[in-house]
Symmetry: C2
Subunit: 261 residues, 2 copies
């Protein structure tokens, strides 16, 4: 089977942050959000209400006339879903950075539609700048998914499964882990009676710099300067926070080694 036309009608499988993050941009660009299927009946019903679409009771009862079945569920459920998924004419694609495309190999027209972004329910992202990473089982599907992505984003890229995994791991390094470090700083500042928000301009500038400098050239701080006096004092200050101290120690040592050995 070939997809019969340009994607105009989408079914969401899953009703989590990614589905909530993407659905408004489909609607905004004239793509119909026809139906949702979710194992979570609460968020599924909320999604259907918010985006004015049908709810499927189970996979078998899905509307078979969608142009695209977009699977936005936790990674570990994708394979199971792919196996149970009914035959349909439309494209089947997932939104995961981690799961290989060939999880859908029993179908003919399939692919990946991976928005490289962190989605939080209730916070709208500027989708125009979000890289949307496309992979597809054939040229026709690739063209359709890329066209769909380009309706919302100016940054559509063809990325294969191996590259996407590397991107996904990198995203953990540049997004999840920094957020956890923010969390540590929040703890320390609460102790000192300071508001964490005072750090925001610094955090913003640290990202902005990276548009102009390689990360290795942008590195600053005590470990970069091999300033043992400051490092030792920070380690002393962290004695009451052994977990933060461990992380401080490891990262400082690795920075020092990179620049001073």
């Amino acid at each position: 089977m070939q997809p019969k036309k340009i994607v105009g009608k989408v079914t969401f499988i899953g009703s989590g942050n990614v589905a909530w993050g993407l659905a408004p941009f489909f609607l905004k660009n004239g793509i119909e959000v026809a139906e949702v299927y979710s194992t979570n009946q609460v968020t599924g019903a909320e999604f259907a209400k918010k985006f004015n679409c049908q709810i499927a009771k189970n996979l078998a009862s899905l509307d078979k006339n969608s142009d695209l079945y977009l699977i936005a569920v936790p990674d570990k459920e994708i394979e199971k879903l792919a196996l149970a998924f009914p035959e349909a004419e439309g494209i089947i694609a997932h939104t995961s950075g981690f799961v290989p495309m060939n999880v859908f190999r029993k179908f003919e027209n399939y692919g990946v539609f991976y928005p490289l972004q962190t989605f939080t329910k209730g916070l709208a992202v500027n989708i125009a700048k979000v890289p949307i990473c496309i992979e597809a089982s054939n040229k026709k599907v690739e063209k359709e998914l890329a066209l769909l992505a380009s309706k919302m984003s100016n940054n559509v890229q063809m990325i294969n499964s191996e590259q996407r995994k590397s991107l996904h791991l990198s995203a953990v390094l540049v997004s999840n882990f920094p957020n956890f470090l923010y969390n540590y700083a929040n703890e320390l500042l609460e102790e000192s009676g300071l508001d964490f928000q005072i750090l925001i301009p610094l955090m913003e500038e640290s990202v902005r710099k990276i548009k102009y400098l390689k990360p290795s050239d942008a590195q600053t701080g005590p470990a970069r300067r091999n300033d043992q006096n400051t490092i030792e004092e920070h380690m002393r200050m962290l004695e009451a926070f052994p977990e933060i101290q461990n992380v401080y120690n490891l990262l400082s040592e690795q920075i020092r080694k990179k620049y001073h050995e």
Copy 2:
């Protein structure tokens, strides 16, 4: 001695990133940059040329009529400088997040003027948003430094030496360490033939979220979900990068513990 008037004339001690970062904003607000003293003769001469000011050959020959001597040198040199600094009528202040104010205790009018920002030569920051942290030996100096700071920034805060140390340590956590993680991601993406810039929108959004959510509520990622399958695969992918693997392992374990134990 009392400072005789509102700060109108500044002498910079040091010609590094902080001096280069601040000087343009003094000039822009009608504050004269009168003189610079630097142990680095090359950057000292560049600074004097760029900001059209005098160069002092040594501390003893400094112009004694400045309203403010702003010491923007590496932390470990501040105490030495304070001891060697000649008597002067103006305020003496440093720009360090780490060094206590009382390093200047032999003077009468002294303080701290700490811009909580990362400065990179050649990259202008939006100073209006930068928190400037003030501490002073007396109310009159405090008023003068705060007035000076408020000419360039909308975010002037009174911060004591202990709090400032905590801020400085937090800045390492939210700026220097994330930058090192960016560096790791850059390594991984180079291996995969991908351009690091693809991660910028994600990095920006990860910071933007923190304006609306507590870091602990904004946490996402495999460790947050306790997704062992993904964590194990990431650890396997990092076998060729043992240093990154160490950091990945420690941070993932700490995130998992915080949310799942």
